[in-house]
Structure formats: structure tokens, C-alpha cells
Symmetry: C2
Subunit: 299 residues, 2 copies
């Protein structure tokens, strides 16, 4: 089955993800104005491959990766057991991005959309996007959520609430008692009618740039100094903790011998760990933590 | 059973770990000459607690932690299943240290010794120590291993080879195909005759300072600049990857609601991730990688 032609539906999903990668990379290069994406094409040992695009040391983006992949692999019995299915072949195609802006005033963002298909024929979509500010600008969180809600509403007016809640639960750093950031939407194992679900995934994918770019622009000239950069590094440490301890996509990739550099492009350019760092009461840094410690309503 | 008095053997193990913490901290403060350890006493929600000592921004030690703990907790059914025992109470006491020197020429070091006792009465020792250089000085690796071998030999002349091999297997960053460093010794589930095993653990604990301090002193005046510091940060990123993805002690601590700041004191003060960083062929940085990619004999 590894070399069997993909069904037309699968191909159109793949084509959309590739086009989205192009659109997003072009827009980011324009916004950044200095750095450009470098592309690495790679092959997976068990079939398929991907195109990893990374931008480093830009004016706005200190490090950013936008990955496309389409990989065939064999579910190990351990992974299959976790997914409550027999061990078999799995085909996964998706786009995955993480952008780490240079300015501590601009939030880090993640977006992912994927389509998985088992040898058994079972297939589903998953994905999501979440915003991780280091300093809280409520209007940024509201703009991000409002844009995502509008995309969700085109699909099902109840979906935003459900996927927003799922996002808060998923991007939770249990050992810190904090969410990774101000959330967004997250969904997995969405089966439903394929064309309709795909339309929803496209709506969300297309919403990424309008949800994030205005925030990046808005924070472009916000002043900051070494103390804000230090705080950003400490908080980026929390981002690393989430990705390496809890993120299912990262661990799935590492366990299935995915391309390490493509999986770990999500890690920040720099991170710091200071023992028992606590921002002073009443500070902007402390205000962020308060917000991350209990679920917020942004709309 | 949580409040039952500890058996005398358990108490003497605990006392040794506390004394070792004192001895090591005093020696490190003397060696550093600037920074001193700050101590935080803490209690575990389910019983017991610990003393975490951390030193930051020293002349030699950029960040170092030396923890003592003695904790009673309930094994979750998931953890019990992993350990192939029924869910029950577990008492764990131990010392755990990680030192991150400021100079990229001086290696990071880890040491841990622990004694675990199940409600069922089953009890065992575990522990080990390993060295993680950023630049390879073969005489440092040899000195470290030679000192550990001498300590092992007092116990059982075959133990060094066994525990050295176990260390290479344990401190392996699978997704990078690299060991964390040049190894040392690692052991777990060592039951045997309690007094004899404890004597072995003491021999290894007492070997820590003679194994590491001379290396720290020897690299004190080795010159380095921003490029070496950058390399150290990149390699420290690999250290983070190991600790958060694979280290059983770290994951066990986080899963059993251990004190996060005490568990994660092992993380470096700063780390960096550059996309697909490869040191130039023939460089000192490339020479290190070569050594980490296949098991070495140091004695």
C-alpha cells in the first residue's frame, strides 16, 4: 500500500497544505523584509517526505519554521495501542508552523493542520493554532480568537467553543499549572463528512494570516530592552517544556523516526532557566502568569 | 504507613545523602569562590520533602543544583504497571545534582544516588554520574572514568564495565543518535545485600568530588570566546532534549507531582536551538560529535 496511488481526496488535501505553506511563507517574508525562508526537502525512511522551510535572524522573526510533510509509516504496536487500533500503516500529511518573533512584545504562534489515514480506511483531520504572548495585550488575544471564531462559525456555530476549550486543555503545562499561552483552537480525530470537514480545515488554515499578521505588525514598534528579552527567554523555556514533555505531535514524530530538525524547528532560538524565577507582584510579567493560570474568555 | 517510623537502615541511607549534600556544597562554594548556595526546604503533598540548594552566576558555576529529598508517594497505576508491581506506596530518598559551569571548556556533570522502598518491602538502590563536555579533553574523560572505576572496584571488579555500559545506553539521545556526553556509570534496581550495596553507593558518592573537581580546576583558565559560548548553548539544548524527553527521573518527578523547580534545576541557565546546525568538518566541535556517536572506551 505504501506505493499505491493516493485517492483523489487525499491528493487535494495535500495540495491545499502545500499551497498554504507557499502563501504563508510569502506573506512572512514580505512582513519581515530581511530574512527569507531556506527550504530543505527530505525523505522519510519508510516512505514519503516533506519540505521544511526555516527563516532565522529576521527583523521580525528570530526563528520560524513552516513545514509541509506527507509521510507513510508503520504504527508501532505501542503507538497503535495508544490509538486503540491494530498496528498498521498510517499515512499522514500536514502543515505545521511555529514562529518565534525577536521582540518580546510580539507573541509566538503555532499552527498545524493534518490529515491521517489508516490502512483500515479510517481517516480524520486534526489541527489547531495557539498564541503565546510574553507580555499580555488583551486586544491581541481578542483579535486572534475573534478571527478563529469567524472561521469556525462558517463550519458549525458550536465548534469554536468546543475547540477553544480543547485548546486550553491541550496546551496545558501540567507541572507548572499554566496554559502555554492564551490559546486558540485545537481539534483532533475529526471525522465527519470528508468534504465538509476539509472545508472547515481550509477555513481555519486560511484564517491563520489574518489572525496573526496584524498582531505582529501592531507590536513591531513596541519598545523593549534587556529585561523584557530576559523574561522572553525564561518564558520560552516553558514553551520548550511543553513541546518536549507533552506535545503529542513532537513525541509522535520523534518516536516514528521523523526528521529531527523538522520536528524540533518548533523550539525557540534561545531559552533560559533561572531557578524559581517569580516576577514581582503587580508587574506586567506577573499579570501574564495570572492569566495563564485560569482559563480566559476572550470574546 | 506514611507516618510509620523509617527502619534504621533507611535512616542511615538518608543521613549519608544529607551529609554528602553538605560536603559537596561546601567544596563547590570553596572552588567557585564567589557564589554560595541558597537553600529551599520544601514538603511533598503526599509526605516527606527535601532541601534544594542552588547556586547561580558564580565564577565557575553558572548554575548548579544539589538536591536532597525524602518523599513518600503513591504509585499511580500507570507508573506501577511500568515498574511491574501493584499500585502501592513508595518511599524514595536521594541526592541529585547537576552543575553547569560558565566556561564552555568545562563539562557539565550530573550525579544521583537514590534508595527506593515499596510498601511490599521490596527495596533497591539506583544512581549514577555522567560527564557532558562541550569540547573534548580526553584526559578529562579518562580521569572521570578512572576515578569511578576505582570506586566500583571496591565493590565488585566487574561492576564498572557493567555500569559504564548501562550509562552509555541510558544517556542516549535516541532522536539525535548521540550519547549525552562521555558517560560514566549508571545503575538501577540494585538489590543485593543491603549493607554491601549501600557501601558501594557510598563509595561512588564519595568519588564524585575527586572525579569532577580536578576537571573543573584544570579548565578554569582555558580561553574561550563568543563562538565557544554559542556552541555550548547549542549543546545545552541537547541536554534539555535528553532531560525532558527521556530522563526517567525527571518524568517520574513531574508525573508524581514532585516540586517542579527542584526537578528542573537540572536544566541549563541558557540553551539555544539553531536549525540544522552542523559544525564544520575537522573542527573541535565536529570532533566532539564523532565521539558521542559511538561508544568509547576511556580506560
Amino acid at each position: 500500500m505504501a506505493n499505491a496511488p493516493s485517492p483523489p481526496f487525499h491528493e487535494s488535501v495535500e495540495r491545499y497544505f502545500r499551497e498554504l505553506q507557499n502563501t504563508i511563507c510569502r506573506a512572512l517574508e514580505l512582513a519581515d523584509g530581511t530574512a527569507t525562508f531556506r527550504e530543505d526537502l527530505w525523505q522519510h525512511p519508510s516512505g514519503g517526505g516533506g519540505a521544511t522551510r526555516v527563516m532565522e535572524r529576521g527583523t521580525l522573526i528570530e526563528k520560524g519554521g513552516v513545514n509541509f510533510s506527507s509521510v507513510t509509516s508503520q504504527l508501532s504496536s505501542a503507538l497503535a495501542a495508544k490509538m486503540h487500533v491494530p498496528a498498521q500503516e498510517i499515512v499522514a500529511t500536514g502543515i505545521s508552523l511555529v514562529l518565534h518573533p525577536a521582540s518580546p512584545m510580539a507573541p509566538t504562534v503555532h499552527m498545524n493542520a493534518r490529515y491521517l489515514r489508516l490502512e483500515s480506511g479510517d481517516a480524520w483531520f486534526g489541527g489547531g493554532t495557539d498564541l503565546t504572548p510574553w507580555y499580555l495585550f488583551e486586544e491581541d488575544a481578542r483579535h486572534f480568537h475573534r478571527t478563529l471564531k469567524a472561521a469556525c462559525d462558517t463550519h458549525d456555530p458550536s465548534s469554536y467553543a468546543k475547540f477553544k476549550h480543547w485548546c486550553d486543555e491541550y496546551f496545558f503545562i501540567r507541572h507548572r499549572g499554566e496554559t502555554r499561552g492564551v490559546g486558540g483552537v485545537f481539534f483532533d480525530y475529526v471525522r465527519g463528512e470528508p468534504d465538509r470537514t476539509f472545508a472547515f480545515v481550509r477555513a481555519l488554515g486560511d484564517a491563520f494570516l489574518p489572525a496573526y499578521l496584524p498582531i505582529l505588525e501592531r507590536r513591531r514598534s513596541e519598545p523593549w530592552g534587556p529585561e523584557e528579552k530576559r523574561w522572553q527567554r525564561i518564558r520560552r523555556g516553558r514553551y520548550v517544556e511543553f513541546n518536549l514533555v507533552y506535545d503529542r505531535g513532537t513525541l509522535f514524530g520523534l518516536e516514528t523516526n521523523g526528521r529531527t530538525e523538522s520536528i524540533l524547528m518548533s523550539l525557540p532560538p534561545e531559552a533560559a532557566w533561572e531557578y524559581d524565577h517569580e516576577p514581582p507582584a503587580g508587574s506586567r510579567e506577573a499579570a501574564l502568569i495570572t492569566v495563564l493560570r485560569q482559563s480566559q474568555t476572550w470574546i
